[in-house]
Subunit: 356 residues, 2 copies
């Protein structure tokens, strides 16, 4: 796919995977399903047959830039953009679009989260090609995932009539719904989850930003001038904190006309919690997923993560998440995995920022 | 209590407290109830008002002798006897009796386990004085604990008529009963638990050994000659492994005539498992006993032990034992604490003797 650049968004903090995830080691730098590789490296590997590493841009935070570089040794160093502060996805994508446009005025962007799971890579490649094709023709393209449950943690896309094979119009974006609404969406068959993947040409998205987000446009112009002057880092340092913290969804996509959607069936998961990590890990006959040296006596449905030099013994326990990182140990009932965030709140209150 | 010597038996391995207990750090060297001191040091401290450390003999294993010495810095080094191999309690007591008799031909022994809990020290002191008094008059004395449940893990003593204030005859010893029998014992009011504490003069117990355990008698004579010749260590090394591995209960007490019992109400527990350790620890309003830095979100009835530099987070869990020793981590349902032994069996099978 000539002229296509991937933009891997790697600014997330992934607090729901504490204690494995920390400020300096967020979710995308973890192997959450026991695959043997980090999520961001898996994201890159998944792109490899279609987009070479030279055309992969990665936007991450300054605290994680070194770790991202190490996780992605084939990505050229200048392709890794380190934000001084996170300002949500619109500034992140805008900045990457500047770089892509400078390399190729006809650049098309495939914008992808760094920390999602895709279990059907061939279907992903087919969808990628369709979405890039539509983007090359000038569309703003999103990808929809057929919902298998009335999830209230995602935004939804209402799908309209087909435009071409495997591409349809978007009627509207909707924010995270309540449970009743979500059930209606699932039952209707007309709604898809907003997967956070976007496709558009660099020129088109920068045009939309200019039209819909003038403040961001001005900031990006300053940064572009900085790139031209060989002074990018200093300009970004000064400009980035003042950019509006806005998502590309809300800032651009939801208010643009003629959005297209490529519905995908790619075995997708956002891996939102330890519970999801357990569901999507290889499990033994007792439903256990052990990424550690474990002795199990009547243990069922447990996820264990521990350093390789720690022996974990489980006796008579069920549906537990046990994560040992040496300095921290989490023992959590699987159906309470969302409440790991409450642990972080308490640690903040106690002034234990060192453990976040 | 002049002429009284304590014999603290510290040869136990305490496998039920894995991973805190190990071959080189058995139960008596742990602080299981969060008291701030090891069980053996608590045993010594409990004796202090009645028997000075100079008259405390400690019998332990060779692998633990150094640790025992460190735990009991006030006990003279020559009072700590290190068995080359464990041969149960009769050889252990016989050896200690030789030493006590050499120091005082009228020595009376108070033989005590090193790893039991006594929550009423004043009552213990009163009982100790009664038992020593009866032993000084020539009796073989055992101590009985009024049972508060039909425990099948202990031996029982059937109590007979009173001999003097607080001392009664023993009708018979009974081995660990089945549950129905144990229920009958508890209901009858005539049975007490055999606490493993014994009192007798050194001369009397050595006489009984000579009469009932001739093989042990011959071994002890060799050791006594070794002591006299300044060659104790070498003789013990050679003789001890050949001594009959027999308990004082079975080898001497059960077949001797005229045994006395001092029934005790001293807040006693043998602390037989992590579950008992939890029951007997200080607990918060939610029933948690945290000997660690813990963040608890809806946790109830849990025991946690961890190094001071580890943060443990519990989320939505109940009745768990969580023990982190750095190299091992146990997560066990509280009512399954007896099955910790099965973990050790599996570790043996896997050739992980390093973790036992």
């Amino acid at each position: 796919m000539e002229k296509t650049f991937a933009v891997i968004m790697a600014g997330g903090v992934g607090a729901r995977f504490w204690p494995s995830s920390r400020a300096a080691r967020p979710k995308q730098l973890l192997d959450l399903t026991g695959s043997g590789t980090t999520m961001i490296a898996a994201t890159l590997a998944r792109l490899a047959p279609e987009i070479p590493a030279e055309r992969v841009l990665v936007v991450t935070g300054r605290a994680t830039a070194v770790a991202v570089r190490k996780a992605l040794p084939t990505v050229p160093r200048e392709n890794i953009l380190a934000e001084p502060v996170g300002r949500n996805t619109a500034p992140c994508i805008g900045w990457a679009a500047l770089h892509a446009r400078r390399r190729d005025p006809d650049a098309v962007l495939a914008v992808l989260p760094s920390d999602h799971l895709v279990r059907k890579p061939e279907e992903f490649h087919a969808g990628l090609r369709k979405a890039v094709g539509a983007a090359r023709e000038g569309a703003l393209v999103t990808c929809g995932i057929a919902p298998d449950r009335p999830e209230t943690g995602f935004g939804y896309i209402e799908l309209g009539e087909p435009i071409s094979d495997g591409v349809c119009r978007v009627v509207r974006f909707v924010e995270k719904p309540d449970l009743e609404t979500a059930k209606g969406y699932v039952a209707s068959g007309r709604f898809a989850w907003n997967s956070g993947m976007f496709f558009f040409s660099a020129a088109r998205v920068l045009d939309e930003i200019a039209r819909q987000m003038p403040e961001l446009k001005r900031g990006l112009e300053e940064i572009d001038a900085g790139i031209a002057a060989g002074d990018e880092r200093a300009v970004v340092e000064r400009v980035f904190p003042k950019l509006p913290a806005q998502s590309i969804d809300y800032g651009v996509m939801e208010r643009a006309a003629g959005i297209a959607c490529v519905p995908l069936d790619i075995g997708w998961s956002d891996l939102g919690s330890w519970s999801a990590a357990h569901d999507l890990s290889q499990r033994d006959a007792a439903g256990n997923a052990f990424g550690a040296d474990v002795v199990a006596v009547d243990a069922r449905g447990c996820l264990v993560r521990a350093p390789s030099d720690v022996l974990v013994a489980l006796v008579g326990v069920e549906d537990l998440v046990v994560v040992d990182t040496g300095d921290c140990l989490l023992v959590c009932k699987k159906d309470r995995a969302q409440d790991v965030k409450r642990v972080l709140d308490i640690l903040k209150e106690r002034g234990r920022g060192d453990l976040l």
